[in-house]
Structure formats: C-alpha cells, structure tokens
C-alpha cells in the first residue's frame, strides 16, 4: 500500500520545517519552541455546560 501525501507531511526537510499545533498543556508548546520547531498553541478550555432544561429548550427550537 502506498502512502499518501498526508502521512508524508510527517517528514521534515533540511530547514527542520515541521509545523506543530499544540492544544492543551502549555509545557509541551514551550518545549517545542525550545527545540526550534514551528509551533502554535491553543489554550483549550472545557466547553461551557448548559443546564439540562436550557439544552432541552434549544433542542426544540433549533
């Protein structure tokens, strides 16, 4: 089976260009930056939980 281009994107070129998105623990982002990698960080927060009755109302109107 041949690999498609998406899995090829795991490879880095001579300029060490590997673009990484970090979501969650910031320590991993900081360590990627220390290694000189192109990295961005998403500061994740849990989704706001709606009260059950509001969810019910929304499910009826949407």
């Amino acid at each position: 089976m041949s690999m498609d281009k998406r899995i090829h994107k795991l490879k880095v070129n001579d300029k060490n260009e590997l673009n990484i998105l970090n979501i969650g623990l910031e320590i991993f982002y900081n360590d990627l930056r220390k290694q000189g990698v192109n990295a961005i960080h998403v500061a994740w927060k849990p989704p706001v939980k709606l009260e059950k009755d509001i969810e019910d109302i929304l499910s009826k109107v949407m």
């Binding site: 998406r6 990484i20 320590i27 991993f28 290694q35 998403v42």
Partner: protein, 542 residues
C-alpha cells in the same frame, strides 16, 4: 482561620490555614502546579495545593496534612489549600494565589483562544499534539482528522468507543493517530510530549510503550545510533477493541521510509488476536530487519530471518546494536552490560549492610514500561510480587496507595494522575511515597526510575534529594536505593549530571532499568545461583 476552629470538619497540622473551593473553575494541571509552587515561595507559607478537585488531589490533600471529613468538591471545581505559620503569611498567600489564577502563569507566544482561529491562520499543520482531558478529545480529534492533520494524542482516559471512532475516521482520511495515551513521539530529532533529545539516524521505532521508547531511543543515541522516527501508538492500540490499527499503519510508514534501515516494535503484551494480526502483517510486509519486544509476553520463535524477538528493553538495545554492526554491539555491551559475576559481587556487598529481616523490594516508578520490564525480571527471582499494573504471574495490588511484600508501583497510572500532572513532571506524590516506604522495617531495596527529556521535570533528582538524604541519614536502619536514569547527555537535564547527583546521595545507579531490577532481585532472592545465571542469560544477555 485557626486550625482548631474548623467549620468544614478539616483537621490540619498548620497553625493557620485555608481550604477554599471555587465551583466550576478550570485551569490545566501544570499551570496549577506552577501556581502552587509560586504560592509556596511566599514567606511564612508551609504548604500549598491549588488543584482540581479530583480523587487523586483529595488523596494528596490528606497526604499533605489537610485531613477532612466532608469536602463538597467535584473534579470540575478548584481547591485552594494553604497552610501558613502566621495570619499575615496566609493572607499574602491567598492574595498571590488569586492574582496568579486571574493573570495566569507562563510565557506563551503564538497563542490562540480557539482551535478554528488557529487552523484558519495556520493551514499547513503537519501534526497536532493533544493533551486535554480525555472526554473532550474526540470532538477536537475529528475536526483535525477531517483537515488531514496527523495526531499525537497524549491524553489518557479517552473512552474506548471514542478511540475506535477516531481511528476509523483516521483510516478513511489516511492520517496517523498516535495515541490516545501515547507519551512519546519523535520525528527526525524533534520530541513531542515526553521525549529525549536523540540523534537522527536509521532506527525507526513503533511503541505501545512510552518509556520503553524513551529507554531504547536514548540509550541507542548515547552510543551513536540515531533514530529516524519514534512513533508511540498508546497502550490500547494493541488491544482487540482497536486491533493494532495504528501499530500496523506506523510499521507501514517506517517500512516505506527510505531513511529507516532497522525497525523496532516495543509493546506491552498485545491481546492474543491482535498480536497474531500484527505478526502476520510483519511477516508478510516488513522486509527490513525488525526487533520485536512484547514486554511480559511468551517466548516466540521467529519464522523469518529478518525478524528477532527479545524479552526486555535492555536486550532490544543490544540486539539493535548487533544488527547494525559488530562495533556498535561491542560498544553497547561495554556501556550497558555488567557481567553476572560483577552483579553477584555487588549484590553481596550491598546485602552486608542490611539486616536479615529486610526482605522486600519496593519499586516507585514514573514510567509504566519500566514497571513492566521490572516485573518481567523480578517474577523470576522473588515470590509475593504485587503491582497496580501486573503482568502474568504477578498479583494485583488492590490498593495502589499501600504496598505489601514486594510491590512495584506505577505512579503514572491514572489513579495517581487524575487532575494532576504526571509524576515525571510533578514529583510530589512520589516524594511522599518514598518517605513512607522507607519507614517499613522489612524493606531492603527501593527501586526508582528518573526519566529525563522534554516534558519532564527540569531536575527530577534534585526534587527527590531531600527525601533521599533523609532516608540515608535515618536512624531507622539502612535502605539500599537503586535507580536508573533514562535520558541523554543532550537532554535539558543532562543524564551525566543527574547520575552524578544520585551517586553523591549514596544511590546505586545502573546503566539500564533491567540491570537495576536484576540487582534489586539479587539482593532479596533465595533462588540458587544456577537459576540466577539462567535468568541473566535469558533476560539480560543477547
């Protein structure tokens, strides 16, 4: 609040204290660890725990001396517990905690508040590293897979049905999903998650065993054998529910990669059906040399000339070196092997310092694969062997918080990490446990791992130094502490410095985890010398 006037039915050992709960407040466990550390620096503060209200943190609250009877807190709430020696110190500490919770702590540069914005501004992402609570992973993972982005899912506690859905979608979209529960990924010298700084080279490793990958990659790198890719796939991948989907995908990737000349597969024992499926794939599709280590598995005869089986991580390192060249094999033996006679002599020397009533080994590990490898060796040498992560032939330790007889504890197990950073990052739980184990009169040996690299504590040995000193100077009788440091001289913590620090504290340091386990076993075993040699030849030698 004075200790004796508790309205929350909390008994504390601090003159002044507060235990507050902020309902419905979230911050990640490492940010909270840093805030706790900052609050502890406020003059007059004796203890501070600012953490989410998980069972693990409630247990830790007790360990730190904030005993309570009825604390109304859930994992979605924040606990602020501070003990101080004066009212002013307590007030300053509370203000510091509130300020840091408000402002946050850290040095983020490329910072996005939501995933959609991050993706729209950065369309060329190769891989995403996900470390959010397990129940939320699926939504994020699906969005990334649909955009053709490979994933490294560090998070544990992802429901198995979510993992199945994620991996099925990944197969449709032809992307790699490394994890959930994958601690380590290495891509051409770049480490994601817990990874050591290793040389780039020709060995490609697939691992359902995070610290196994760290041990093999770092010890190979230290003798000049580099790593092309280290692809952690997470422990569930080799269970029948998943069926080795990503293990096979990762093997296929390495077989097709021109820079990878030798493959290794390191894994906790797969479910039988999945093991057969993976081996079948290898026999039919992998033509490069491949060394397979199913830690704790049964003996296997290879059915093909390029496929080799080993029993331990230690043997895997020696075997890879042997496949690469005779010179590298000699180098590996010189650096990582002690002869049987040397080990017997060392064990006899150490035994002389102990009393005859000291009979047991206690292992306090941060790496799950080190627990596995230790059990593979100790089950041949001692009876009454327990663990919270048992393999065949080892009894389950029902209460992971309390050791009995010979107990090997995986402190990275989820029971110890709910709402807390992994013990490789935060040594609090292990330091307390170490002091507790040393109090047992019948304990002879304490075994420990210290895992270096990106993601880990910046001075793991230093963080345990006071506790080790206390044990070594204790009047309660001598304990032998045996350790292994997993890391490289290029790691931020530097393996040589960490080893020297341990030795200066009187700790015996072994070059591999397997040798540390074997030496510990030799100290407490009552097996015959012939049996010991048989175990050494079978599990250590190649």
């Amino acid at each position: 609040m004075r200790g004796e006037k508790s309205s929350l039915k909390i008994r504390v050992r601090y003159p002044y204290y507060t235990v507050n709960v902020k309902k419905g407040y979230y911050m990640d466990s490492i940010q909270l660890l840093k805030i706790s550390e900052e609050v502890k620096k406020v003059p007059g503060v004796l203890e501070a725990l600012i953490a989410m209200g998980t069972d693990t943190n409630k247990e830790l609250l007790k360990m730190l001396g904030f005993s309570y009877e009825d604390l109304n807190v859930t994992p979605n709430d924040l606990i602020i517990a501070i003990g101080a020696e004066s009212e002013d110190a307590l007030k300053n500490a509370v203000n510091t905690a509130e300020r840091l919770l408000e402002e946050g702590i850290g040095e983020t540069r490329e910072y996005y508040a939501d995933l959609d914005t991050a993706l729209s501004k950065n369309p060329d992402i190769s891989i995403a590293l996900i470390s959010i609570p397990g129940q939320y992973v699926k939504d994020v993972a699906m969005k990334l897979i649909d955009r053709g982005i490979n994933l490294h899912i560090f998070s544990d506690n992802v429901p198995i049905n979510d993992e199945i859905e994620i991996k099925k979608r990944a197969l449709e979209k032809n992307v790699l999903v490394l994890g959930p529960g994958a601690g380590t990924v290495i891509i051409k010298g770049v480490g994601l998650g817990f990874a050591d700084k290793v040389n780039v080279g020709s060995v490609g490793i697939v691992a359902a065993s995070g610290t196994g990958l760290q041990e093999v990659s770092s010890l190979l790198s230290e003798i000049g054998i580099g790593i092309s890719y280290g692809l952690g796939v997470g422990g569930n991948d080799v269970k029948n529910a998943i069926g080795g989907i990503m293990t096979i995908k990762a093997l296929e990737f390495l077989q097709n990669d021109d820079d990878t000349k030798v493959l290794a597969l390191i894994s906790k024992v797969p479910d039988r059906e999945t093991e057969e499926k993976i081996l079948n794939y290898i026999y039919n599709n992998v033509s490069k040399p491949i060394i397979i280590n199913f830690l704790g598995g049964h003996a296997r005869e290879s059915a093909k000339g390029n496929v080799y089986f080993t029993y331990t991580l230690h043997q895997t390192i020696l075997k890879i070196a042997k496949v690469i060249s005779e010179n590298k094999y000699v180098e590996a033996r010189n650096k990582y092997l002690l002869s049987f006679d040397e080990l017997i002599r060392l064990a006899d020397e150490l035994k002389r310092e102990l009393s005859s009533s000291q009979r047991f080994v206690r292992g306090l590990f941060t790496g799950g694969s080190f627990v596995n490898e230790t059990l593979v060796i100790l089950r041949e040498l001692v009876n009454d062997l327990y663990s919270n992560a048992p393999i065949e032939g080892v009894a389950e330790l029902k209460n992971p918080f309390k050791s009995i007889a010979n107990s090997i504890i995986d402190l990275g197990d989820e029971v110890f990490t709910r709402g807390r950073p992994h013990p490789m990052i935060d040594p609090t739980i292990r330091v307390n446990r170490l002091l507790e184990e040393a109090n047992y009169d019948d304990v002879a040996v304490i075994l420990m791992d210290f895992v270096l690299g990106y993601g880990s504590h910046d001075d793991p040995v230093g963080a345990h130094a006071d506790a080790i000193k206390h044990i070594m100077e204790s009047s309660k009788g001598k304990k032998v502490i045996i350790a292994h440091v997993c890391g490289t001289s290029e790691d931020p913590q530097n393996v040589v410095e960490q080893v020297n620090k341990l030795r200066s504290l009187g700790v015996i340091v072994m070059p591999t985890n397997a040798l540390a386990a074997f030496l510990a076993g030799l100290i407490v075993t009552n097996k015959s010398i012939e049996k010991l040699k048989y175990v050494y030849d079978g599990l250590i030698e190649v």
